[in-house]
Subunit: 107 residues, 2 copies
DNA sequence: ATTATATATCGCAATATTACGATAATAAAG
DNA sequence: CTTTATTATCGTAATATTGCGATATATAAT
């Protein structure tokens, strides 16, 4: 059929999967790294940086926004994005808990 | 077009994305959790556990194997999988580095 | 208000993923 | 060697993702 049967799984499993999906594309990994490297946040020389089209970058940004990781503010002409640190730490915690629990129980 | 342009990104970015992709489905998260919960490893009552078809579970297991996270041994009739702890720790490290670096630099 | 620049959205094509039934392959038991 | 139980693979259908050109929207400057 081809539809993910999310109803078979619990909230935590679905949430982790949803967040992992955002990191499951190298462009989105690169975008997050690039945004974080700028002292003050950054707009979209991401297009130059990555070599992807503007529409494509905008779509990837939308995916990252969906899980609450981005905040955008206009600075002059430019819309500058930065990472929402609280949400970032929260998600880091999600992964850390997942990895640590399984790592302890396993084998 | 619809092809991920992996050549635009570096090895680390692609590796993280590839690993994240495996975690990007709740069934695979659930499978990993379930395998880790068994003292000795587990075979496939995963089908019962999840409610997915046997072929589907087998496919998900293959995805998890691709990134080196599973080791399988026959015990009697049953093929019992367990998590490769070394690889698990390695991947935990990958995510931890990624999250920590970005978390420090950002904003 | 108009213009210039930046970003988002739409529509489409190509490819990838998810799921499952059917079937093949594998390993223990008889 | 044959049978039985378990897991893997194949083929296929439905849906999702990726990417981009074209276009719409939004903000700042004039």
């Amino acid at each position: 059929m081809g539809v993910s049967k999310t109803q078979l799984f619990d909230t935590r499993q679905n949430e982790l999967a949803q967040v992992a999906r955002v990191l499951a594309h190298p462009a989105r990994v690169a975008i997050l790294q690039h945004i974080s490297r700028q002292d003050s946040c950054i707009c979209s020389d991401l297009v130059e940086e990555t070599g992807l089209a503007q529409a494509t970058i905008s779509q990837h940004l939308a995916e990252i926004k969906k899980i609450g990781l981005l905040r955008g503010d206009f600075q002059g002409r430019n819309l500058c994005y930065c990472i929402d640190k609280d949400r970032w730490d929260e998600i880091q915690g999600l992964f850390d808990t997942f990895f640590t629990r399984i790592g302890q129980q396993c084998c």
